[in-house]
């Protein structure tokens, strides 16, 4: 009988190689890989108690209403909710913070997230900010920015040298920073324009792809006067204002779809497209009621920007896969925390 040593070695080598390949794929051999978990870890360490909450845009309020499409975009896309008709909306307004108890004056960026549902189960989820451009163009820079802005546990404040260093190394942040310095502060989620910062592609019935960005433009932008200073904003003013306004009357926005020219970047959310691009008014968003997030219908919705209907596709923007992956990681954590809290008597 032959010695079994060589065959046994071959078996060990084969299974060991397979196990190592799996470990590599799962990231266990590459602690430096930028994973969704690392981004969400960093977002979770910005002060406050984020347990049970979204790890970014942690402080928000639910809204419900409907989107009425006028059909003007139907020549560009087969998306069912852009064909003429009315489609239910479950949305959320929030400030970009890691702390669900943050005062509203600490949220420079405000957001509107929407889930628009068509008959048959197709959904369009989109998260939009009130800045016309995003601060960075790729996930690595977003991670570095999060670290630079993160408070040091020892002092409770960020390293004073970190942000200037980040800004010096990331000139692409300049248009956003210019907006952050100069855009007026208001005391309302209403009256603001919200931009889907990333580019997408509309796909028409013939299969032709049209690169676009979309935004929600307030129908009544004069609804809110600018504040003299951010400190004039009471800690929970935004949710109170929204609840009061919706108790009086619905709030409306127009969905504006902007078509890219061939030279416009679709992979760089830090760069605005020129103002003269073709714009399509695709319909009207009407929000009718607000609900506390803790018991509201938006609480357990992941506004993953890659949940798209047929007829809308992601572009080559590297932020989109990173957003989707990180949102799911954040969702998994907070839903587990919510479930744990609900099991407790």
């Amino acid at each position: 009988m032959r010695s079994p040593i060589l065959p046994l070695l071959a078996i060990a080598l084969t299974t060991g190689t397979a196990a190592a390949a799996f470990a590599y794929t799962a990231g266990w051999l590459s602690p430096d890989r930028l994973t969704p978990a690392r981004i969400v870890d960093a977002l979770s360490q910005r002060g406050g108690e984020p347990t049970g909450h979204r790890r970014n845009h942690a402080k928000g309020i639910c809204v419900t209403g409907e989107f009425e499409a006028n059909g003007a975009a139907a020549r560009l896309t087969t998306a069912p909710m852009l064909a003429p008709g009315r489609y239910p909306v479950t949305g959320r307004f929030a400030i970009a913070t890691g702390n669900p108890a943050a005062p509203d004056a600490t949220g420079r960026v405000r957001s509107m997230a929407l889930r628009i549902t068509a008959p048959g189960g197709q959904e369009w989820r989109t998260g939009m900010n009130n800045s016309p451009v995003f601060v960075v163009a790729d996930p690595q820079a977003f991670y570095e920015l999060t670290l630079a802005a993160r408070p040091d546990p020892a002092t409770g404040r960020p390293d004073p040298a970190a942000m200037p260093r980040f800004v010096a190394n990331h000139p692409e942040a300049a248009p956003f920073l210019q907006w952050a310095r100069t855009a007026p502060w208001t005391a309302s989620y209403a009256g603001l324009r919200y931009y889907a910062l990333n580019a997408f592609r509309l796909v028409d019935a013939a299969g032709t792809r049209h690169p676009v960005r979309w935004s929600m433009e307030p129908v009544d932008p004069a609804a809110t006067a600018p504040l003299a200073a951010p400190s004039d904003l009471a800690p929970d003013a935004l949710a109170q204002d929204l609840t009061q306004r919706l108790a009086q009357a619905p709030l409306r926005w127009r969905l504006v779809i902007t078509l890219a020219a061939p030279t416009d970047p679709t992979n760089d959310a830090t760069k605005a497209w020129p103002e003269d691009r073709e714009r399509i008014d695709a319909g009207t968003l009407t929000l009718r009621a607000a609900q506390d997030e803790a018991t509201g219908p938006c609480r357990d919705i992941n506004y993953d920007p890659l949940i798209l209907p047929a007829g809308i596709e992601a572009s080559d923007d590297p932020l989109l896969p990173a957003r989707s992956a990180a949102y799911i990681n954040s969702f998994d954590r907070r839903i587990a925390e919510t479930a744990r809290a609900e099991r407790r008597p």
Partner: protein, 178 residues
């Protein structure tokens, strides 16, 4: 030379082996990357999982109809028991993992899109507790699945290279000396 599995059984075994290994690597990769390949990996993971679910039903039917060649009479009983238990576990995981994935997305309130134009109905209503249980199970059962496949592979090679008892040949598609 012992009896072989039927050709449809052998074909399905190797086809599903490739699909399941791809599935496990895609799953492990897609939850640990923020790179552009993430989108592609997710778009493969869901329809591939449903394809595995359909094929395992076919495979179980073939197994019930045609059975399997008996193991060598001289195989020690612990190895025999391990073979039967691991095969049962593999069938259970092939069936359970796609169903858990589908249920998990349902409980998370996600649309279940196999393709932009092809949606499956939810199996469960949105529920944080169910989502968390299923999400956790999907992850740990995937690790168990991969570990069981490694054990299955090691055992198959042990039959082929050390015992040379025809067990490997009964599933191999080419000619195999025993």
């Amino acid at each position: 030379m012992t009896a072989r599995f039927t050709l449809p059984q052998r074909t399905l075994h190797w086809l599903m082996a490739a699909m399941i290994l791809a599935m496990l690597f895609i799953g492990a990769g897609m939850v640990t990357t923020v790179a552009p390949r993430y989108t592609l990996l997710v778009s493969i993971h869901k329809p591939l999982g449903i394809a595995i679910l359909l094929l395992v039903l076919l495979r179980a039917a073939l197994r019930l109809r045609h059975g399997a060649p008996s193991l060598p009479a001289d195989l020690p009983w612990p190895m025999r028991a391990a073979a039967h238990a691991s095969h049962l576990l593999l069938y259970a995981l092939m069936l359970a993992m796609p169903l858990i994935g589908w249920s998990m997305l349902s409980a998370g309130g996600y649309p279940i899109a196999l393709a932009p134009w092809l949606h499956l109905p939810p199996l469960l209503p949105p529920d944080p507790t169910l989502y968390t249980i299923l999400r956790t199970a999907h992850r740990w059962l995937a690790y168990l699945f991969f570990a069981t496949i490694l054990a299955h592979l090691a055992a198959a090679l042990f039959h082929a290279l050390v015992r040379r008892d025809g067990v490997f040949a009964s599933m191999a598609t080419g000619a195999m000396k025993s």
